[in-house]
């Protein structure tokens, strides 16, 4: 692991009132990766998208305003944009090839340490449902921050999460039966 504080983009963070990008990136990397794993349902893809997210974030770090959102929210917003671009590309590719090669890779667990039925149920959720679970439960973003990432209202965000949890419960029951 490299020393992330060795090259600081913000030479005088105390003066500018925000942390150095490297410190934020090191702190938020796992969260963004987890979010993208849930959103895409694919760890390999999530790795690529996470790297791309941090690349983009690095380029636009000067425009980041800490008064408007927490670093985690800001990074998840960028990650979501990157992921949606990937979904679009995938949709075009699927349409072209009419196959979805990723089906083979989906046997891999989304998250380590989860019971099998829960892993299976998570896989059956839509990306939209998985991403709200990731944001609210795994990353523990509050309602307004998650809603900001998703570009929807706070109520819509809570409703989506409630439905996702209900579906998870039903699917776990089905697997148990």
């Amino acid at each position: 692991m490299k020393d992330v504080t060795a090259t600081s983009l913000e030479a005088t963070p105390a003066l500018t009132g925000r942390p150095a990008f490297e410190a934020v990136a090191a702190e938020q990397l796992d969260s963004v990766y987890r979010y993208l794993v849930f959103l895409t349902g694919d760890r390999t893809v999530a790795e690529d998208l996470t790297a791309e997210t941090f690349e983009k974030a690095f380029r636009s770090w000067r425009r980041y305003d800490p008064r408007r959102s927490a670093p985690r929210t800001w990074l998840c917003q960028i990650g979501r944009t990157v992921a949606i671009d990937w979904f679009r590309a995938e949709a075009r590719r699927r349409k072209r090839e009419e196959t979805y090669s990723r089906d083979l890779e989906q046997s891999e667990d989304l998250v380590d340490g989860l019971p099998g039925p829960l892993q299976q149920a998570l896989r059956q959720l839509s990306p939209a449902e998985r991403e709200v679970v990731a944001l609210r439960i795994l990353l523990e973003l509050d309602g307004p921050a998650a809603a900001r990432v998703l570009g929807i209202s706070h109520t819509a965000c809570s409703t989506r999460l409630s439905r996702a949890l209900k579906r998870l419960e039903e699917m776990i029951d089905d697997v148990g039966d």
Partner: protein, 353 residues
């Protein structure tokens, strides 16, 4: 989905104690999800946190720039108005002082300037056909003098071979009064008429314009000569007995057109000669109470007035620009909103699959 359900779910997310069996189950599910571990692989960590060259700093205009640009634009607008106000009165003063020779008082100087200003424009037109259009405003002390001056003005016009085309005489009950006369004076006597009319009272203003009609007259005379020659030639051609019938009809049509054009040109020349023969003089006689000479405004007053006028023009231009641009802005906003809506739907469809 009821509001209470959502509130309870939010409470469970915050770690609140479950109250029902369903909540116990949901709380357990949340706990299980939070209990899972998912860390970024080391390869990704190295990739995401790798050294990168610092991105080139591109200056981006901030919205805060508006705080500078808008006041600066306003300052420029006001500055331009002030410069306009400072320069314009100076020019006016220069033209107002034309013809004054060592005036003892301002009023006397104005009178002298007004009387002398008309002289060159009329005197310099001898030998050429010109039309003079003059307007004079004089002030008299009271309504008795107003009546006398009006009669005298009519008499002056008649004595010089002209006439009063219209006379309007007003003496309102609240005091003061004015009369408006439209006089026609023979061209050769207009200068004398102006001098005599100016002597009816205190001269308030005098405006004389002379239009040279010599060129118009020459053009019209040349056209008339040409048309006369054409008419004569057509008549001569029509006298030939060997002329085919179709050709004869055609020539007759051309002859009729030439005659009509000739009549028009003759009328026009008659009008030009008539305009040159008589001059039009508009005379306004005011009582001093009603038509007091407006007090000369100070330089600062004139400057401010001029600056305000200029600012008003700037405002009109800005308003016009806003009216032109605003429909485009509205279209732009609608297009942006539709594109956003479409993008949102697209995202929703992608992630709901």
């Amino acid at each position: 989905m009821s509001a209470t359900e959502l509130e309870r779910m939010e409470a469970l997310l915050r770690g609140d104690v479950p109250r029902t069996a369903a909540e116990v189950r949901r709380s357990a599910l949340i706990g299980e999800l939070r209990g899972g571990t998912l860390r970024a692989p080391d390869a990704l960590r190295a990739r995401a946190l790798a050294d990168r060259p610092e991105p080139a700093r591109r200056p981006r205009p901030s919205w805060k720039l508006a705080f500078v640009v808008v006041p600066a634009a306003l300052a420029v607008a006001v500055g331009a108005a002030l410069v306009h106000g400072l320069t314009r009165p100076a020019n006016n003063e220069q033209s107002a002082s034309f013809g004054t020779v060592a005036p003892k008082t301002k009023a006397a100087a104005d009178q002298q300037a007004l009387r002398s200003a008309a002289a060159p424009s009329v005197a310099g037109t001898s030998g050429r056909l010109t039309h003079t259009d003059a307007s004079i405003t004089v002030a008299v002390p009271d309504t008795d003098d107003l009546r006398d001056a009006t009669n005298e003005a009519t008499r002056i016009a008649t004595s010089l071979g002209g006439f009063a085309q219209s006379v309007e005489y007003r003496t309102p009950a609240e005091g003061g009064g004015a009369s408006y006369l439209e006089l026609r004076i023979p061209a050769q006597n207009v200068q004398r008429a102006l001098a005599q009319l100016a002597g009816l009272g205190t001269l308030v203003s005098q405006d004389v314009s002379v239009k040279d009609l010599q060129h118009d007259l020459a053009v019209q005379s040349e056209q008339i000569a040409q048309l006369r020659r054409r008419v004569a030639a057509l008549k001569e051609a029509l006298q030939s007995s060997a002329l085919p019938e179709a050709q004869r009809v055609l020539l007759q049509i051309k002859l009729a057109e030439a005659k009509r054009a000739l009549a028009q040109r003759l009328n026009a020349r008659k009008g030009t000669l008539a305009a040159g023969a008589t001059s039009r003089v508009s005379l306004v006689i005011n009582t001093e109470k009603a038509g007091a000479v407006p007090a000369q405004r100070s330089r600062i007053d004139r400057m401010l007035h001029s600056a305000l006028e200029f600012l008003a023009v700037e405002g009109i231009v800005a308003l016009y620009a806003l009216i032109v641009v605003s429909p485009l802005l509205v279209v732009g906003v609608v297009v942006w909103w539709l594109a956003r809506l479409r993008r949102r739907r697209d995202e929703h469809r992608l992630l709901a699959a």
